[in-house]
C-alpha cells in the first residue's frame, strides 16, 4: 500500500494533474491516520470524522509536534534517515524520519526545476551532508549537486572554505547560483568586508531560513539590498526558499515583497488565529501547509509563521514576531526557564 502510494506521489510530482491532488491527499491522510499512531490519537482528539471530503479538512499537526513525538507513518525499524531541526530555541530539536529519500529527492529536484532555478555552477554556503548528516538543507544541497564536495563552501569546522570560494568567484565565465542560509550570506559579507564578491553576470542568489539562535536580525529588504550591492545582482535575482525540516518540499519567491508560490504538490491555507478556520482573503493568519511529499510523516503541518494569502495564488510571508510572547509577567517565568536550560 505504502509503496503504491509512494509511486502515486512520485508520479504526481513528475506529472502533476490538478484534478488528482485532492484524492491523493485524502489517500495519504487515510494511510497516515492508519499507520501513524501519534497522528491517529491527534485526529481522535480533534474528533476528525472517519471520512473527510476535502484536503482542507485534513488535521494539521503543529510544527512543534515534531519535537515532542516521533511522527512516523512507517515502522521504526525501516528508518534510514533522520533530519533534525536546529534546536536553537532551547526546547530540543524536531525530528523528521524517512524510510527512503526517493520522494524527498524528487520533491527537491522537481521543485527547483518547477521554478526554473539554475543548477549549473551551484555554490552552496553550507556544509556537505557528510559533515551535517542531520541537516535537511545540506542534504538538499547535496541532491542538487550530486554531492560534489567542491560545491560546498562551508568547511567541516563551520568556517568558509576560502580557497573553494575564491576559486569559484574568480571564474567569471559563466553565471553561478549561490545558495545558503540568510545567516551564511550575512557572514559572507562580514568575513569579506573589503573583498569584491561580485558574481558573474546572470548569477542568482538563493537564501533560506532566518537568523535563529544567532542573536542577529536584519529585515529582508535590508538583507537583499546589501546582497544586491555586494554580489552585483538585482534584488529580483535574489530568491527565498521557504522550507523546513518538518516538510519535504519548498516554497519559493523572488525579490522583495513578492508572493511565495508552491509547486503543484503543495497547498497552503492561512488560518485565522482567533477562529482556527481559514482566514478571509487579505487577512493575516498562521500558515498551514499540505505537502504530498510528506508521505512518511504527516502531510499537513501548522507552522508558527504569519502570512497573507495573495490574489496570485501565493502567500506573502511575514514570519513570526519573536517578541510577541511572552509578555508582561510571563517573561519572568520564561527567563527562568531559559536560564534553566
Amino acid at each position: 500500500m505504502t509503496t503504491s502510494l509512494e509511486t502515486d506521489v512520485l508520479r504526481f510530482l513528475s506529472q502533476p494533474e490538478e484534478g488528482k491532488f485532492e484524492s491523493l491527499a485524502l489517500a495519504i491522510f487515510n494511510h497516515q491516520r492508519r499507520e501513524n499512531p501519534v497522528y491517529a490519537k491527534y485526529c481522535e482528539f480533534l474528533e476528525t470524522p472517519e471520512r473527510i471530503d476535502s484536503w482542507k479538512r485534513i488535521p494539521a499537526v503543529p510544527q512543534i509536534a515534531f519535537k515532542r513525538s516521533d511522527i512516523r507513518s512507517f515502522s521504526v525499524e525501516e528508518t534510514t534517515t533522520e533530519f533534525r531541526t536546529s534546536g536553537t530555541t532551547g526546547e530540543g530539536y524536531g525530528k523528521h524520519f524517512f524510510p527512503s529519500l526517493r520522494l524527498y529527492e524528487a520533491a527537491v529536484v522537481r521543485g527547483w526545476d518547477y521554478f526554473r532555478l539554475p543548477r549549473h555552477r551551484l555554490i552552496l554556503l553550507m556544509q556537505h551532508p557528510d559533515e551535517a548528516p542531520f541537516s535537511s538543507l545540506s542534504r538538499m544541497g547535496g541532491i542538487l549537486t550530486n554531492f560534489r564536495r567542491d560545491r560546498f563552501a562551508i568547511a567541516k569546522n563551520g568556517g568558509f572554505d576560502l580557497d573553494q570560494l575564491r576559486e569559484q568567484l574568480l571564474n567569471r565565465e559563466a553565471a553561478l547560483t549561490l545558495f545558503g542560509t540568510a545567516l551564511a550570506f550575512l557572514n559572507l559579507l562580514e568575513v569579506f568586508p573589503a573583498r569584491c564578491l561580485e558574481l558573474p553576470h546572470g548569477s542568482v542568489a538563493i537564501e533560506t531560513g532566518g537568523f535563529k539562535g544567532s542573536g542577529r536580525e536584519i529585515g529582508k529588504r535590508a538583507l537583499y539590498e546589501q546582497l544586491s550591492v555586494r554580489l552585483g545582482v538585482a534584488t529580483d535575482s535574489i530568491w527565498n526558499e521557504y522550507g523546513m525540516t518538518e516538510l519535504s518540499s519548498q516554497f519559493y519567491s523572488s525579490g522583495i515583497g513578492r508572493s511565495h508560490r508552491a509547486p503543484p504538490w503543495m497547498r497552503f491555507q492561512v488560518i485565522d488565529p482567533d477562529t482556527n478556520e481559514e482566514a478571509s482573503p487579505g487577512k493575516i493568519g498562521l500558515l498551514r501547509i499540505i505537502d504530498l511529499a510528506n508521505l512518511w510523516s504527516v502531510l499537513a503541518v501548522l507552522t508558527q509563521d504569519l502570512a497573507i494569502a495573495q490574489p496570485d495564488g501565493g502567500f506573502l510571508l511575514l514570519g513570526r514576531d519573536p517578541d510577541v510572547l511572552p509578555r508582561g509577567c510571563s517573561r519572568a517565568m520564561d527567563e527562568l526557564m531559559r536560564s534553566a536550560r
Binding site: R68, D274, L286, R327, C329, M333
Partner: protein, 354 residues
C-alpha cells in the same frame, strides 16, 4: 495643595476605576495613619523614640511604567500624589489611556506630567525613580540613576494559586476573577494553580464554568501577531493532550478567550497568559517545587485560607497571600513587593537634642 484636598482630588479622579479598590477619603486617611502616623497630616515635629522626626515627600518622583496593566501605574501615581510629591510619568510606547483619563481629572496644581519619551532632565532631577518592567528595563534605568536618588524597582513577578478544595461554582468564579482582568498580564494575575486531589477533575469542572465567566467581561483587543502566537501555543497543547497521558485541554470555541490546561507534571512551565489557565497536580513538596521562583513570587491565592496554607505560602516566598478570587484586589494598605507603599516615597529628618 493641602493633604485633605489632595485626598479629595484622588478620590474624585479614581471614581471611574472600580478596580483601584475602595478609595474613599476615610480609607485613605486610615492608610496614611497606619503607615505614617501623623507625619503627613501634621507638619510639626513628631516625637519618635528619644528624638523628633519630620517627613518630606521625595520630590519629584519619576514613575517609569510598563504597558501590561494600568493598575500598577495608577497605584504608584496615587501614592506620589498623596505624599505631596511632584510626579512625572514615562508611559509605555503604546500609552495607557486609563492614566491619561485619571490625570486629566486631577486639579492642575497636582497634575502629574506624562510623556511617551523619557526627558533626560527627569532622570537627572528626580529624587525618587520608580521603575516597572523586565529585568533588562530595570537594569537599564538603574545604570542611569545616581546614588543620591531612591531607586524603587518593581520587576516582573509571578503569582499563583494553591488549592485543596473541590471545584465548585464559587471557586471557578474566583479563579475567573483572578485570571481575566487585564488579560492576565498583571503581576497579580495567577500563572498556574497547584491543585490537591483529583486535579484533572478540578480542571474539567473549572472548564465548564469558564464560558459563562468570560461572557461577563469585555473581550480583550489583541493584535494578529499575538493571536497567532496564542493559537500556536494552544495547538501545541492540543497535540500534547492528544498524545501525552494526563494532559487535558478545554478551550473556548471559535475564539481565543480562554483555555484550561491540565498538566499532571508539577514542573514549572511558561504561560503565555491572555486567558490561559494551567491546572497542575499539587506537588508532594510545594515549597520545593516553587523554590526556583521563590524570589519572583508576588501573590499566592489560597483555598482554603487557614494557618497551614498561609504558612506554606509564606515559606514558599509569597509577598502576599489571599483568598482565591481576591488576587486582583489587594487592600489599599498592601505592601506592594513587600515595601511600605507611602513610606517608600518620603524621607525622614531626625532632630535630636530639642
Amino acid at each position: 495643595m493641602k493633604l485633605d484636598d489632595r485626598i479629595a482630588a484622588v478620590v474624585s479622579a479614581a471614581a471611574g476605576f472600580s478596580w483601584l479598590g475602595d478609595l474613599t477619603a476615610e480609607n485613605i486617611a486610615r492608610w496614611i495613619e497606619l503607615e505614617l502616623g501623623q507625619y503627613l497630616s501634621d507638619p510639626r515635629l513628631q516625637t519618635y523614640g528619644s528624638q523628633h522626626c519630620l517627613t518630606f515627600p521625595l520630590s519629584p518622583i519619576l514613575h517609569i511604567v510598563s504597558g501590561n496593566t494600568p493598575h500598577a501605574a495608577l497605584q504608584s501615581l496615587i501614592r506620589g500624589v498623596i505624599v505631596g510629591a511632584t510626579n512625572w510619568m514615562k508611559l509605555p510606547q503604546e500609552g495607557l489611556p486609563e492614566v491619561d483619563t485619571f490625570v486629566r481629572a486631577l486639579p492642575k496644581e497636582i497634575r502629574p506630567e506624562l510623556a511617551g519619551d523619557l526627558h533626560q532632565c527627569w532622570m537627572e532631577e528626580a529624587e525618587a525613580i520608580v521603575v516597572f518592567g523586565s529585568d533588562e528595563t530595570i537594569q537599564e534605568f538603574s545604570r542611569w540613576a545616581r546614588p543620591t536618588q531612591r531607586f524603587l524597582a518593581h520587576g516582573h513577578k509571578i503569582s499563583l494559586g494553591l488549592i485543596w478544595s473541590r471545584c465548585d461554582p464559587h471557586i471557578a468564579e474566583g479563579i475567573a476573577r483572578d485570571v481575566f482582568p487585564f488579560d492576565q498580564l498583571g503581576c497579580l494575575s495567577p500563572q498556574f494553580f497547584f491543585v490537591a486531589g483529583d486535579s484533572a477533575e478540578f480542571a474539567s469542572q473549572l472548564s465548564k464554568c469558564m464560558e459563562k465567566q468570560r461572557l461577563n467581561l469585555v473581550a480583550p483587543v489583541r493584535d494578529r501577531g499575538l493571536a497567532a502566537a496564542l493559537r500556536a501555543f494552544r495547538e501545541e497543547w492540543k497535540f500534547r493532550a492528544a498524545t501525552e497521558p494526563g494532559v487535558f485541554l478545554w478551550d473556548s470555541l471559535a475564539n481565543l478567550d480562554w483555555v484550561v490546561i491540565h498538566d499532571p507534571n508539577p514542573g514549572l512551565v511558561t504561560n503565555p497568559l491572555h486567558g490561559t489557565i494551567f491546572i497542575k497536580a499539587m506537588p508532594s513538596d510545594p515549597e520545593l517545587a516553587l523554590s526556583p521562583i521563590r524570589r519572583l513570587i508576588s501573590t499566592i491565592g489560597l483555598s482554603p485560607v487557614n494557618l497551614e496554607s498561609v504558612s506554606l505560602a509564606i515559606r514558599s516566598g509569597a509577598q502576599r497571600t489571599c483568598q482565591i478570587g481576591q488576587m486582583q484586589n489587594p487592600p489599599l494598605t498592601w505592601h506592594h513587593d513587600g515595601w511600605p507603599a507611602l513610606g517608600s516615597f518620603v524621607r525622614y529628618v531626625d532632630v535630636e537634642g530639642l
